[in-house]
Amino acid sequence: MRGQGEAGAGGAGDRARSAPSGAVLELIEATVRYAGAEPPALERVSLAVRGGECVGVVGPNGAGKTTLLRALLGQVACASGRALALGREARRWPRDELARVVGVVTQREEPAFPLTVREAVEMGRYPHLGAWRAPGSADRAAVERAMRRSDVEALSGRWVETLSGGEWQRVRIARALAQEPRVLILDEPTASLDLSHEMQLFELVIDLVRRDGLAALVVSHHINVAARFADRLILLAQGRLVADGPSAAVLEPQRLAAVFGWPVTVHRLADGSVQLFPERRPIQPNAGAAS
């Protein structure tokens, strides 16, 4: 229903379809430098995310994960190389048009004023409404669909500041779905969630990818959860792409030990995905003298 339903909608944003490669998000040899910082935050990184695919981005702190998202969202310019969203330079997208095709859920968000859940989800229609148009039946239907899909209908009248962390993240996914995007970008979406809420959230994301054909790009520190759900993992370190592929191929003990600076072992699960276990390295009482 998505995809072809939008084909006739016209507008500058819809002219840009997928790139010839079929990618909805793409970096081509992208290098990003921040003023005053010598090593580039991102160095010659190439990657592609296609529809119906869930890609996890992992790596240590400062690896360039956030910069990678900022480049793909056109928030930062590439010093060289290209960042494309639906085949069009990310920096060239007007913000409202980009918000009609890409939904973003970040780790935290604190509204300055009280909002109900429904009001929050309705804001997902703003990129379609512009400054003046009043919401029509199509907008209301999109909001209902998004709330049903994210299972937040029962919360509809609640004030968002009374929600639990997991509920608030689901509401924000609903808001992103109300944008009717083709791509979902999630930046540390489960950093403050407990185990069951984290699993629920990832099950919802993977269901959206499988059933609705959305593309999902998930940045997470929780490598094991990302490895369970993502079709592919992208491992970044010091601004460079270290590995890109199925989790079993990317999560190699020696590579991970080098990237994270900590010894790990890797176990293969029955479903083919792998899980990583950091090894213990107890502090020696007389470590200073011994080494």
Binding site: A35, L73, Q75, P94, R95, D96, E97, L98, A99, R100, V102, G103, V104, T106, E109, E110, P111, A112, F113, P114, L115, E119, M123, G124, Y126, P127, L129, G130, A131, W132, W159, R175, Q179
Partner: protein, 330 residues
């Protein structure tokens, strides 16, 4: 707390504004009867009454309405811009700049009715530019925290200069300046209303056009960007438009506190935070509130007149406390 529907809210606000305007015209030191006022409004009857109604009371009511409305809208917009519910139009150093401009003009010995507002306007704009420059960060965007801090710093600096100038001025100048700074709606006339409207109409239009972007900005800058707002452009427009509104209001009527803080909150509590409703509703309520406050200021100790800012604070504070308690009990 149940929210009224939008049409019900606007019907109530329009009725309130009508009552406020009627009282503003009816009440005054001259003690005209309702009948005489009715006659005068139609341009008939006693020439003195016609003069009082058309040249004194009506422009005063109109000025109060526009000044109150403009301050309330500027306050509401700035609260969303800096994501702080306690923001008010004077927070960003404007009142200090306006005061300094006015006092400088007085110290220079200019007492023309036109120079004082112009100097205040210039001072407010100078403060606006200074705070804007301070808040520009490396990337070329406005940093909201720097706006707040820059506003406080510029305001404090201007206040120090005002105090310094006043302390070496003579008594007459001192009283003129102090009274002017306290704010008032008298003695401006239709021309003042017209000048204010020239500034207010385009600035109000800019803010209303940014209503949805302001809704998004209240979520935070990152979410706003992801939901399609051009955050840097919106912040610049809102800051400039709200500053222009405030500067024009200060030039016309001095510094009148509490309207820009309390009125947006009253609407937020009644109806929520959608700026598409909030801004026009705040305009109506702010206008009506200031007209009523001015009517009270004129009549409470008639023939003496209170500074209208005293009335807005005395009425505004308890009202604000009551609303806050209701909000907390939601």
């Amino acid at each position: 707390m149940r929210r009224p529907s939008t049409p019900a809210l606007f019907a109530a606000l329009l009725a309130f504004a009508g009552i406020a305007a009627a009282l503003g015209v009816a009440l005054g030191a001259a003690g005209l009867s309702p009948r005489a006022i009715g006659q005068a409004l139609l341009g008939r009857g006693d020439g003195v009454a016609v003069g009082i109604v058309w040249s004194l009371r009506l422009p005063r009511v109109a000025l109060g309405f526009v000044v109150g409305g403009v301050l309330a809208v500027a306050g509401a917009a700035l609260q969303a811009l800096v994501r702080n519910p306690l923001a008010d139009p004077y927070l960003l150093g404007l009142s200090g700049g306006a005061g300094l401009g006015a006092v400088l003009a007085l110290a220079a010995g200019v007492v023309s009715a036109w120079v004082l507002p112009a100097a205040a306007f210039g001072g407010a704009l100078a403060a606006t530019v200074l705070v804007y420059r301070l808040a520009l960060v490396a990337g070329g965007g406005l940093d909201s925290r720097m706006l707040l801090l820059g506003g406080v710093v510029v305001g404090a600096f201007a206040a120090a200069l005002v105090a310094g100038i006043l302390s070496v001025s003579d008594a007459v100048q001192l009283k003129t300046a102090t009274l002017w700074l306290m704010g008032g709606l008298g003695g401006v006339g239709w021309s003042g209303v017209l000048v204010l409207a020239v500034y207010a109409v385009p600035a109000l239009a800019v803010l209303v056009a940014e209503s949805r972007a302001l809704n998004l900005l209240a979520l935070g800058e990152e979410p706003a960007l992801h939901l399609g707002a051009d955050v840097a452009v919106t912040k610049r427009r809102v800051y400039i438009a709200a500053s222009l509104l405030t500067a024009a209001a200060v030039a016309a009527a001095g510094i009148i506190g509490f309207v820009g803080l309390v009125v947006p909150h009253a609407i937020r509590l009644l109806k929520g935070h959608d700026h598409r409703v909030l801004l026009p509703a705040a305009f109506l309520l702010g206008g009506a509130f200031l007209v009523l406050a001015d009517a009270l200021a004129r009549t409470a100790f008639s023939p003496l007149e209170l500074p209208v800012g005293v009335v807005t604070a005395v009425v505004g504070v308890p009202f604000f406390v009551a609303l806050l308690r209701r909000w907390a009990g939601r």
